[in-house]
């Protein structure tokens, strides 16, 4: 194994269980850190005609046109006014860059193996297939999202459509 491969391996083990956590309503969610490119403030959108309500529009991210979806609306939660805490997590999913609006970003956490559990059978408004597992850090329960699924799902077709 070359040096470079060793380093890469070390990085991926170190980051495999790292999650960016954020809040949506009362709940805490986590997305694998490698999916998150950056987090930006709410810049205002340009609307795109005839889109489902959770597709808020597009933004200019350093010259690239990036679509933005509101996770609250996607998960059928109550819509909320955007304020100074509202942030957009810029995610890279299947070579596409997509912005996701969340209430606020909380932390970057590392979960040990025993702090993670497979998907339970309950529903929290979020469809079970969007959840890759549950994490526990102290008293907080974190819903780990399978963001690829969330964004590829048929009705959005964000990633599948040509």
């Amino acid at each position: 194994m070359s040096k470079l491969e060793q380093v890469n391996e070390a990085i991926s083990t170190a980051t495999a269980n790292q999650f960016v956590t954020f809040t949506l309503g009362d709940e805490e969610y986590g997305i694998a850190i490698l999916k998150v490119q950056e987090i930006i403030g709410y810049p205002g959108f340009t609307k795109i005609p005839n889109m489902p309500s959770f597709v808020k529009g597009v933004i200019n991210l350093r010259g690239s046109v990036v679509p933005v979806i509101d996770l609250r609306l996607k998960f059928a939660m109550q819509e909320r006014e955007y304020d100074t805490y509202t942030v957009i997590a810029i995610l890279e999913v299947k070579e596409k860059v997509i912005g996701v609006i969340v209430d606020a970003v909380s932390d970057v956490i590392t979960l040990k193996e025993d702090e993670m559990q497979p998907t339970p059978d309950f529903s929290s408004g979020v469809k079970v297939e969007f959840i890759s597992g549950m994490g526990r850090k102290g008293d907080t329960l974190i819903i780990l999202l399978d963001i690829d699924r969330v964004l590829s799902e048929g009705e959005i077709g964000m990633l599948s459509a040509a």
């Binding site: 340009t46 609307k47 795109i48 005609p49 005839n50 889109m51 200019n60 690239s64 046109v65 040509a162």
Partner: protein, 711 residues
């Protein structure tokens, strides 16, 4: 350079060579025995053969060899250029292209039967004897045998006294002759004294010779074993410089060098002669043919052109270029943003800042233009390909057609050129198939027997225009109308104008051809052409006169990456409309807007009733300006028809760098892309065709006709 990049280079070069070869072959047919042309063709084939061998494509190399043998006969005027010959050669070119395509895809099958067939056809042109020769002697053995031979260069300076020892130099030479073939032999007689001081027992001669032999160097050296101590004998293996007994080194040598090398003259002699020799320019001046000034300027010109030729070209990956174009576009926008925001800058420095920003803006625009120009290529390459198409089709259909090209130096974006190839080919086929009549029909109609298809390109107001014109029978206006009614595109009593009527030709499944041929007439084609042109954001129209001919006129934007846009406001949103599709903008009076039952709203634009599209309702944007008489109607043209687009207001014109929505998202109905405005926000670029589809998908019936019933 590793093998794969060698292969890549070969593929690009061979593809280019084949393209030239094809064009040259077609013009060879017209011009007949043009030595320059034949040589060029021969060289191209030869280069392909050679490089194919280098990259290990032996099948390709062998095949080209057969082609080369035929071309060789043509070059030696042993074979007359005929239509038949050119056809076979073109077929061989097609096969080579296919072989290269297969090679570029890393392997695959080529049509073995076609190859055998073409090979047989090619051999037919070779005289029986030479076929035999080229197969049995020339092709196989000679190449192999040649490698068995060695060439030795021998400098032979025997001692003056050699004759006294009883050794005859001639014996030595004869011995050499027995070992092989002496391909070069020179005797230096410079040392021979005047006759009266000549000593007949002395040897004054020196020899320089080259021998082609199968023997080893030691064997050759053995010949001189008895004299080598007392003589100056140099034997050198020069095999690498020789081929078929010819010294290849001589090719790049000057006459003087060759002569001195052979010891025929001394260096000093040459220099003496050279210094006494006058340059051509001086001679001409002396004889009063030209002035000294003219000679000097001609020399300067020569020098300059040689320098430029040396600078030549480099190949650059188009990806790199695209990135550069994007970045520069980005910069132009950024500068525009700075310019827009300078009002809010420090008031005291505003003036000097403004000057600086203005010059920055100018420079960045210049830079943009230059970078764009890098991507531009002349249409010549594209146009000349059609000589072949025309030739083949004319032959097949027994028509006489001449292709006339003009404006071939007009430059277009490389991507556009590539994407134009198919639609143009189609239009040309169309012109030949439907437009051009048979020679006898043309004569009967009082036209020249030979038809002309003109392909011309020119630039006009930020657009490139390409015209494909034939002087054939033209389009029958009535049968198009009949067909349009038959297909239900228009009603019986409609009288669309000619321009609108001909647009039906671009509808899928619309063909007025009486007979369906292999080439065209199935009604697929023109719609695809239209689609291709749409994709390039161009438009196409038809001008035709019965009996005189048909012209297809394609308008294309100069570049794909940037458009001139008009920013319009709808509610909170700013939308960019491509300036090219805007005809005018009006604020209608209340009376000018009418509702037609079942067809929506129309507006009266100077007597012409145009359908009105409310952008806010099609795009679902909230706005309080819903009354056309308080808002603005932008009249746009989509190629098929005109219609009015209702917007709140017009904000101004801006160059827009087109950003893809598909890159991170997917296609959006009604938007052809997006662009970034001066303040950094995103603006959608309106897709007029898309909007038309969205707005009129329910009613197909109001194509371009004047809505008399609306009034």
């Amino acid at each position: 350079m590793d093998q794969s990049s060698l292969m890549e280079t070969f593929i690009t070069e061979a593809t280019e060579l084949l393209q030239d070869l094809e064009i040259d072959l077609v013009s060879l047919e017209d011009s007949g025995e043009d030595d320059e042309l034949i040589n060029r063709i021969f060289r191209a084939a030869h280069t392909i053969k050679g490089s194919a061998g280098v990259v290990g494509l032996t099948a390709l190399s062998d095949f080209t060899h057969s082609m080369e043998s035929v071309l060789d006969l043509v070059r030696d005027h042993k074979l007359v250029v005929t239509n038949d010959l050119v056809s076979v050669l073109l077929r061989a070119v097609d096969l080579l292209k296919e072989m290269i395509r297969v090679a570029s895809e890393g392997g695959g099958d080529i049509d073995e039967r076609e190859m055998q067939f073409v090979l047989t056809m090619l051999r037919r042109f070779l005289p029986a004897a030479s076929v035999q020769e080229s197969i049995t002697e020339k092709e196989v053995p000679e190449n192999r045998e040649e490698s068995k031979y060695a060439y030795f260069e021998i400098e032979l300076a025997l001692p003056e006294t050699i004759l006294e020892t009883g050794t005859d130099p001639l014996m030595l030479l004869r011995e050499l002759q027995d070992m092989g073939e002496i391909v070069e032999l020179e005797v230096t007689t410079q040392d021979t004294p005047d006759f009266h001081s000549l000593d007949i027992y002395k040897l004054y001669l020196r020899w320089h010779l080259v021998i082609r032999t199968r023997e080893l160097q030691s064997k050759v050296e053995n010949v001189f074993v008895f004299v080598q101590d007392s003589s100056q004998i140099a034997i050198e293996d020069v095999t690498r410089f020789f081929k078929d007994g010819v010294d290849l080194r001589v090719a790049d040598m000057k006459l003087g060098e060759i002569l001195t090398d052979k010891g025929l003259v001394s260096k000093k002699d040459i220099e003496e002669v050279l210094s006494s020799q006058q340059k051509i320019g001086e001679l001409l001046v002396q004889r009063g043919k030209v002035s000294e000034h003219d000679v000097r300027s001609a020399l300067e010109k020569q020098l300059k052109s040689r320098e430029i030729k040396k600078a030549s070209t480099i190949r650059v990956d188009t990806d790199k270029l695209d990135k550069l174009v994007n970045l520069v576009g980005e910069m132009v926008i950024a500068v525009a943003r700075v310019n827009q925001q300078q009002c809010s800058m420090l008031p005291g420095n505003k003036r000097s800042a403004q000057g600086a920003i203005e010059s920055l803006e100018r420079i960045s625009r210049d830079l943009q233009e230059q970078v764009m120009r890098v991507r531009m290529v002349p249409v010549e390459g594209l146009f000349s390909r059609f000589h072949r198409v025309i030739r083949d089709l004319a032959n097949d259909q027994h028509k006489l057609i001449r292709l006339e090209l003009s404006g071939t130096e007009t430059e277009l974006d490389k991507n556009v050129v590539e994407q134009l190839s198919d639609p143009l080919k189609h239009l040309i086929r169309n012109a030949i198939d439907h437009g051009v009549e048979l020679p006898e029909e043309r004569v009967n109609a009082g036209k020249a027997e030979e038809a002309t298809v003109k392909l011309c390109a020119y630039q006009q107001e930020g657009e490139i225009i390409i015209e494909i014109a034939d002087d054939g029978q033209g389009i029958d206006h009535k049968s198009v109308l009949k067909k349009a009614i038959e297909k239900g595109f228009i009603r019986n009593d409609d009288t669309p104008n000619e321009k609108a009527l001909y647009q039906f030709l671009f509808m899928p499944g619309f063909s007025t051809a009486k007979q369906v041929t292999e080439v065209s007439g199935r009604g697929v084609g023109l719609d695809v052409v239209k689609q291709n042109i749409d994709e390039l954001r161009g438009t196409i129209e038809v001008i035709s006169e019965v009996g005189k001919g048909t012209t297809f006129k394609i308008r294309l934007p100069l570049t794909l990456a940037i458009i001139d846009g008009m920013n319009v406001k709808v509610g909170e949103e700013i939308i960019t409309i491509p300036l090219l599709s805007i005809v005018e903008s009006i604020r209608p009076t209340k009376e000018a807007v009418k509702t037609v039952q079942g067809e929506g709203e129309v507006i009266d634009a100077r007597g012409e009733y145009l359908p009105l599209v409310r952008l806010h309702s099609v795009f679902g944007i909230e706005t309080d300006k819903t009354d056309p008489s308080e808002a603005l109607v932008v009249i746009v043209e989509s190629g098929q028809r005109r219609f009015g687009v209702l917007v709140d207001d017009m904000l101004g014109q801006q160059q827009a760098v087109i950003k893809s929505l598909e890159k991170n998202f997917h296609q959006v109905d009604g938007a052809s892309g997006a662009t970034i405005l001066g303040d950094g926000t995103v603006s959608l670029i309106l897709d007029i065709h898309g909007l038309e589809k969205m707005a009129f998908s329910s009613s197909q019936l109001d194509f371009g006709h004047r809505g008399s019933e609306a009034a």
